[in-house]
């Protein structure tokens, strides 16, 4: 069949967080190129179950690129070789017939492996809980024109808010830094009047939590923004730095 390919999947298998992991290579025949990458893993898992072997554990949920649950470091890229897309939006037509595809979990001290390709991203929840919200009661909705917000700020805030918290930025960063995630979460509030009231408290709490959880320091390589499935921009990190420096200098 012309529209089918055969590939070798070199997959990281690790029984539990403390076990020594290793790569195991699986061969898959005649995979239609319109199959998504996660479906390919499903096909492989069915074969493994039929053979009585343990299926590969991997994270997935919505499979339409909005939940941030899927991960996977595929051939040296978080979410695979496609740009601006999550792993669930990756299709086998991206790969060549006979290609060996290396599939690894996110590797970062703050994201320990739970099993195989699944990592614990609870650290992101903890950063969010530290201040990624507006804590006061805003009451009933005001008239839309009561607090004018410029189009530029509204767009920027919306772009920042499109972060799905998948952790690809941490996976891509050679320093295991979560700066792009924290920057997006801080920016979406810092740009809007509703978020400004608690801006200083928020940036200090969220950044403090990020440091405490053992994420690395940002060295501005920009790999995070280049690999982000939601195209979160590097300028968010500059805004985070600015907000943090201003908050600390006004203490």
């Amino acid at each position: 069949m012309e529209n089918s390919i055969s590939v070798k999947l070199k997959v990281w298998r690790q029984a539990n967080p403390k076990a020594q992991g290793e790569f195991i290579t699986y061969e898959l025949q005649d995979i239609p190129t319109d199959t998504s990458f996660l479906e390919t893993l499903d096909i492989l898992n069915e074969q493994l179950v039929e053979k009585g072997e343990e299926p590969i554990a991997f994270d997935h949920d919505c499979r339409e690129g909005i939940c941030g649950m899927c991960s996977l470091y595929i051939n040296g890229h978080p979410h695979g070789p496609a740009t601006g897309a999550t792993t669930c939006q990756l299709y086998m037509r991206r790969f060549k017939d006979g290609e060996t595809i290396t599939v690894e979990p996110w590797r970062s001290a703050a994201f320990p492996v739970i099993k195989d390709l699944m990592v614990n991203r609870n650290a992101f929840d903890q950063i969010q809980q530290a201040g990624g919200y507006v804590s006061f009661n805003t009451g009933g909705a005001q008239d839309a024109n009561a607090i004018p917000i410029s189009k530029v700020d509204a767009d920027e805030a919306m772009d920042s808010a499109s972060c799905i918290g998948c952790g690809a930025c941490v996976a891509a960063c050679k320093n295991g830094s979560a700066m792009l995630f924290v920057a997006a979460k801080v920016s979406q509030f810092a740009l809007l009047p509703q978020g400004k009231a608690e801006a200083k408290k928020r940036v200090k709490a969220m950044l403090g939590k990020m440091d405490e959880l053992g994420f690395g320091n940002c060295t501005n390589t920009g790999a995070c923004a280049a690999e982000c499935p939601k195209n979160i921009k590097l300028s968010n990190i500059a805004r985070l730095n600015r907000e943090f420096i201003c908050a600390k200098s006004s203490d």
């Binding site: 051939n75 690894e104 590797r107 001290a109 492996v113 390589t221 920009g222 600390k248």
Partner: protein, 226 residues
């Protein structure tokens, strides 16, 4: 203190010391250029920057800038390596928009530091240090001659300049990003200014080194005044 115990604070220290060192390099290059035109004028510069109180104060601040920048570099790198975890990726690819220099600042910095040690040994240890110790220092002319008449010096210096150039092409815009003085418009402007600045300064250094090697090793008589 947030300059020690927060990731952003540590990067602020790297930025400020880095920008200070770039400023120093700019003045250093301009003063070197004096020697190409007139060795007498260069001698006057050396005299001015001998072991006077202001030159010593300047040297102390400069040394502190280097030391802090280097200590923080190793500190940050150690933290970053441990944040990456003990398991490395089997396959990694550098996205097109990521500069090689940005991922290898420590390596470039170590090359620059080795070059700095050699350079201090060749000049500072023969000029300002003896003066501080109350001994007779070499004149600027003697120090330049003993250094650049040796054939191996020029290639080693050019390698050093290249490493500094690479280091600054990332360091310059990165410093402004770390200080929060950046946005979507300015990111490319800073990159452009940084590239231009680094190129001008390092080319000036290279021209001086080549001209002085020309004078002392190859007999170019017009360098430093005919």
């Amino acid at each position: 203190m947030w300059l020690f115990n927060s990731s952003v604070g540590r990067k602020v220290v790297m930025s400020v010391t880095g920008l200070f060192l770039i400023l120093f390099l700019t003045f250093h290059a301009l003063m070197n250029a004096v020697a190409v035109f007139s060795l007498d004028a260069y001698e006057a510069v050396c005299e001015f920057l001998g072991a006077n109180w202001y030159a010593l104060l300047g040297t102390a601040i400069l040394a502190a800038g280097f030391v802090i920048h280097i200590i923080y570099a190793f500190w940050l790198t150690l933290q970053n390596r441990s944040a990456r975890g003990s398991n490395r990726y089997a396959v990694t690819k550098r996205p097109k928009s990521v500069e090689w220099a940005s991922q290898n600042m420590l390596v470039l910095g170590i090359i620059v530091a080795c070059f700095l040690v050699l350079h201090l040994y060749q000049f500072w240890a023969k000029m300002q240090m003896p003066e501080i110790m109350g001994e007779h220092p070499d004149s600027g002319y003697v120090a330049l001659k003993t250094t650049f008449e040796q054939a191996w010096v020029l290639p080693v210096y050019l390698i050093g300049f290249f490493a500094v150039w690479f280091h600054i092409t990332h360091g310059f815009w990165s410093a402004f990003q770390s200080l929060g003085v950046n946005n979507d418009k300015w990111i490319n402007r800073w990159k452009c200014i940084g590239w231009f600045w680094a190129t001008c300064v390092m080319v000036l250094f290279a021209i001086c080194a080549i001209a002085l090697t020309g004078k002392f090793a190859w007999g170019w008589s017009c360098v430093g005044g005919c």
